[in-house]
């Protein structure tokens, strides 16, 4: 099977700091991949390179057999790479409905979906359970609901690759349980790349885990393999009590 997305020698330096350093990475279609690593390991920089928010210093990115290294971010979104922000980045002054209408009308304009804006919006809001709050200004939603709205916006883009940057950050335990169910459901249609700090969530969701440290890939493998990897334990898991 061909990978959906690969990077070759991907690097991004900020001055002398090698935030992402010569990373070779491959993501298979349909998998849930978790990216973990200590703070400052280059996880967010790496996914930002993938979705085009920042430009690489060197290396290349291939998505669906096409070189997208020099493609601007908005065109990558149209190819099906969606990104949900680490820090909730909704349109606080607009209603939840309007927030989701933007990605829906994008896919309609691109011809990647059919029908009315309204139907698409309500479908996405229903999937995350926010349909009854469609007219509430997004900034007035509870924090957990804002995270869900962020996911709904990502979903509404009909992504083939959905990048979730620390999606459970700040969620209550009860909300996390629902969230895991939602991610499983999304994974039936899209490939997922998730940056996550919450290890139980990672262990439960991920098909494979990639561990970053100091801009490089330290280890990669199934949750079991990563759990028992001595180098990972030293760098990140802190003695394997997890």
């Amino acid at each position: 099977m061909m990978p959906l997305m690969t990077t070759k020698g991907l690097s991004r330096h900020f001055g002398g700091l090698r935030a992402v350093d010569n990373v070779d990475f491959a993501l298979m279609p349909g998998e849930i991949r978790a990216v973990i690593g200590p703070n400052g390991a280059g996880k967010t920089t790496f996914v930002s390179l993938v979705c085009g928010r920042i430009e690489p210093t060197a290396g290349m990115i291939v998505f669906d057999n096409a070189d997208i290294t020099n493609l601007p971010a908005h065109k990558r979104v149209r190819l099906g790479i969606a990104y949900t922000f680490q820090i909730t980045s909704i349109f606080a002054n607009l209603s939840a409905y309007e927030n989701v209408a933007l990605p829906v009308q994008r896919t309609l304009t691109d011809g990647r979906s059919k029908g009315q804006v309204h139907a698409g919006v309500m479908e996405a809001l229903e999937r995350v359970g926010l349909a009854d709050r469609a007219n509430v200004p997004a900034g007035q939603l509870a924090y957990g609901h804002q995270r869900l709205l962020e996911v709904a916006m990502g979903l509404a883009l009909k992504p083939r690759l959905l990048v979730l940057d620390e999606p459970t950050q700040g969620l209550a335990d009860s909300e996390i349980e629902n969230f895991i169910g939602l991610v499983r459901e999304i994974a039936s249609e899209a490939t997922l790349l998730i940056i996550e700090h919450n290890m139980p969530v990672v262990m439960e969701l991920a098909d494979r885990i990639t561990v970053f440290e100091a801009g490089r890939i330290l280890a990669e493998g199934t949750p079991e393999a990563i759990r028992s990897n001595a180098a990972v334990q030293r760098a990140y898991l802190g003695g394997g009590d997890d």
Binding site: H74, S89, L102, D110
Partner: protein, 321 residues
Amino acid sequence: MMEGSSPAKAYLLHVAVIALLFVLNFILPAYHHGLLARILVLATFAMGYNLLFGYVGLLSLGHAMFFAAGLYGAGLGVHHFGLSVPVAFMAALACGAVLSLVIGLLALRTSGVAFMIVTMMFAQVLALAILYFAPLTGGDQGLVLQQQERVVHLGDTVLDLTNPTARYMVALVLFSIVLLLTLAVVRSRFGRVLIAVRENEERTRMLGYDTFANKLAAVVISGVICAAAGGAYALLFGYVGANFASVQYSILPLLWVLLGGAATTLGPLIGTLFMYYIVDITSGYTSAYLLIVGIALILLVLFFPKGILGTLRQRWVRWLP
């Protein structure tokens, strides 16, 4: 605010405003009739400004250049090339389109304060160029378009733009077209993207939108509307002057829009009307009228921080577009 929330009510309100302005043509005394015709053209200028400032959140300090592009595009066309009124108006639109496209391509490489300064500088260049090429433009004296140059021949019908009623009606037609156009734009999918750019540009980009292209389109639409107002001003009032290119005429539309309510479709009309009349009334009583104007503005900012219609919408009339 947009789709799904009482579009009929919004359109009805706008049509009612236009109908009211139409009726005023027949009942206003001559002085106010003339003043209102002028206000309608300047409110059109303000609507063009509002599209960019209110909806996209781009604060330009150089919109006088787009008004002047239309003013001189039409005025010089009539004066030097003997263009007929409709052709001269088309020339005004063309000048506005070309200028705003070029300025947009250059100025949109910046944002925030830099955008303000860059637009202001370009407007200064145009204003100084108008003064420099005085033999062509009339310099600071400006040009006066003669009565016979301002008559429209449509088949057998003759429309004399120096006639007060004809002038008022043409101003009203221009105002109405731009008002309904603005309403249609801000309720469209394109309008939704513009508002999204204002609220959070980076997020809009990550939803697949080419924000530069959308902002450029907005600059051009805004520029063409302002040029249409400028062109109409030259043809209706017969005066083409360099003061319309000065920085004062970049600040005025900002003031009118802020007063009436940024990002409200009717705000520019309310703001222009309010400002014009407060100056008109107070200057009748005292030479220190600017003091009263200043106090009125301070009170307005205190009690209507989002402009008259903006605050009305926030507190009472939520469906206002």
